[in-house]
Chain length 336, copies 2
DNA sequence: AAGATGATGGTTAGCGGTAACTTTCGAGCA
DNA sequence: TGCTCGAAAGTTACCGCTAACCATCATCTT
């Protein structure tokens, strides 16, 4: 009895070809040692010959496992997320899991939509950037019964697994480095102002408050970061607060843009103005002077996520918890 | 009869709750106008109350359509791909399609694996970066019966839809711009050396050959591009070919790294050395001087991909073809 | 008033796999 | 020789959903 004419090759086609039942073919693929060698070889030959593509939708439906994990990231062009992705992917691949990616564009609504989609495909785990989600998304996640990782920032109330670093402490530490070098008028320059940027800014404020200094010189925008924007915003800040001695930019891109603007204005860094960024991307070492920054352990975060996820997928239970992987303040040459 | 205790909420649970059959619930979701208003409202209430997550794996299995499209990209951190992604996503979302992303790390083997995975999930379309694939991948794609887009570069033998630009012509045009400005010793600096980098290099060679000039000053590496690497490689080139007048870097990151290195060496750009990159990313306008580059219509490429894909998904047939969206050479200030 | 019509909802049969149990059969052992 | 046992393959049922067809009933026709 022929299968639907148009359709793709199924297990049944392979089975017919070899003269066995489809469960045997299924086993030859998933548990080869359970099928005798000669038969297995004939099955493999038939698979190659007919060009069989396993239907994961069907497999996931029947077994409840898909051997894939979804990672939802706010931005594709931000190197922060690509480092984390690499760490996760490397760990998962070794265990036979595929990493699927979704792009949220910093929108928790879009995140919700993707959570729904990927859970609907039956992914075995989910990694989210950040700890803020829609109410509906949290409900979905709780009911889903799969391990969920929230990453980058830390939260006292993790949904499940939380791996990251204390963004506020990092912002504070960097600001205190400025203070330790004698700077007093330290501004904050922020773009996008997603939750992590807000936390860093809170750290900046806390450090200044603790030192009894003004937190007035603060310029933020919801626009996405770019080199151009960093330059423009630095211009605005200098115009508005000419006595500014140092600027903490909420990420490296903005800081680099600010540095380029200083170069155009022939404003010496760090003598006339000190600068710092956040993340420790490639560019901070390329500029002259190298930029001060907070180096975040992104690769390591990805690796730890993969480890924790695999442990859970292997059946190891654990209760919600946070892991703080720390950070490192680096002075570069832009704080002097 | 109770459903499995542990499991998630299914259509049947909603149906039981409301007192109808599951097909009615299914219709309420997919074709609301086919279900009477009062009943629909009761169904919607039950869905909200019980927290139903549709199982797309099952839906895709039963219907053969998943309302999702996969995009496979070589690198997450490269802004080139994020621009394309944005263009595609915007177009697809309006039509109710989800864009799923896979990361190949410039490996066609990994690409093959992801093609297999996503086809196995029943995606309705596939967008690939580049035109080179494994033999097995091409076989899978041909059999899959879904629209396939190859993008960025052009090929005389597209699998299906091909949208991009002529990388060789672009490399040649940029090199000819150097020549038009009187430069004679024009080097090529390339990293990663994926297929597109090779095509650009071929354009550089062709332009120099046509002008009867030497193609000796060429330095390439399989390492991934970075600012640091651009600086280091420029150093090597200057050491080896001190008389070099201009360098065509195979992308903007390398060019920026090279420019930073020139600044460190107090080598005036473009007076002592001219530089150019490729792609037209944000950074080329941020540096001093702005970098010469080839601006590629990435966003537009993404939009056109979405258009073509949607036309095909709506049933409009078409035979394999290529679309050339062109490019624009921009001199910045680094060619003088 | 009888049949045609359209709106609404139900029935049946799968999509392509896998889990769990069962059958078959030859080897090993007392 | 009779029995147990394990390896190898088969049977059955079902995962959650949708296509295609069918049943029902109020509303129109003429």
């Amino acid at each position: 009895m022929p299968r639907r004419a148009s359709g793709r090759v199924t297990l049944q086609d392979i089975a017919d070809r070899v003269g066995v039942t489809k469960i045997t073919v299924s086993r030859a693929l998933r548990e080869p040692q359970r099928v005798s060698l000669p038969l297995r070889q004939r099955i493999e030959a038939a698979i190659a010959e007919l060009g069989y593509i396993p239907n994961h939708a069907a497999g996931a439906l029947a077994s409840g496992r898909s051997h894939s994990v979804a990672l939802l990231i706010p931005s594709l062009s931000n190197a922060v997320f690509s480092d984390i992705q690499r760490g996760i992917e490397e760990g998962l691949r070794a265990a036979g899991y595929q990493l699927l990616i979704g792009h949220t564009g910093y929108s928790i609504l879009e995140e919700e939509r993707l959570i729904d989609t990927y859970l609907g495909y039956g992914v075995d785990g989910l990694v989210l950037s950040g700890t803020r989600h829609t109410e509906h998304a949290e409900r979905l996640l709780r009911r889903a019964g799969v391990p969920v990782v929230e990453t980058l920032e830390l939260t006292p109330t993790p949904l499940d697994i939380n791996v990251g670093l204390d963004q506020t402490a990092a912002g504070r530490a960097l600001t205190e480095t400025f203070l330790a070098h004698g700077y007093r008028r330290v501004g904050f320059l922020g773009a996008r102002m997603d939750h992590r940027a807000q936390l860093r800014m809170a750290g900046w404020e806390a450090a200044l408050r603790a030192a009894g200094l003004s937190t007035e010189s603060c310029l933020t925008t919801p626009q996405p970061s770019s080199y151009r924007l960093g330059g423009e915003m630095l211009g605005s800040m200098l115009e508005r607060w000419p006595a500014l001695e140092a600027v903490f930019c909420c990420n490296d891109d903005l800081a680099a843009g600010a540095l380029f603007e200083c170069q155009r204005r022939r404003l010496a860094v760090p003598d006339a103005l000190a600068l710092a960024g956040f993340n420790g991307l490639d560019i901070v070492e390329a500029t002259t002077p190298p930029l001060a920054t907070v180096v975040t352990p992104r690769r390591r975060i990805g690796e730890v996520i993969a480890e924790r996820l695999l442990a859970r997928l292997a059946g190891q239970p654990c209760r919600p918890h946070s892991e703080d992987l720390g950070f490192e303040v680096r002075c570069g040459g832009s704080i002097g």
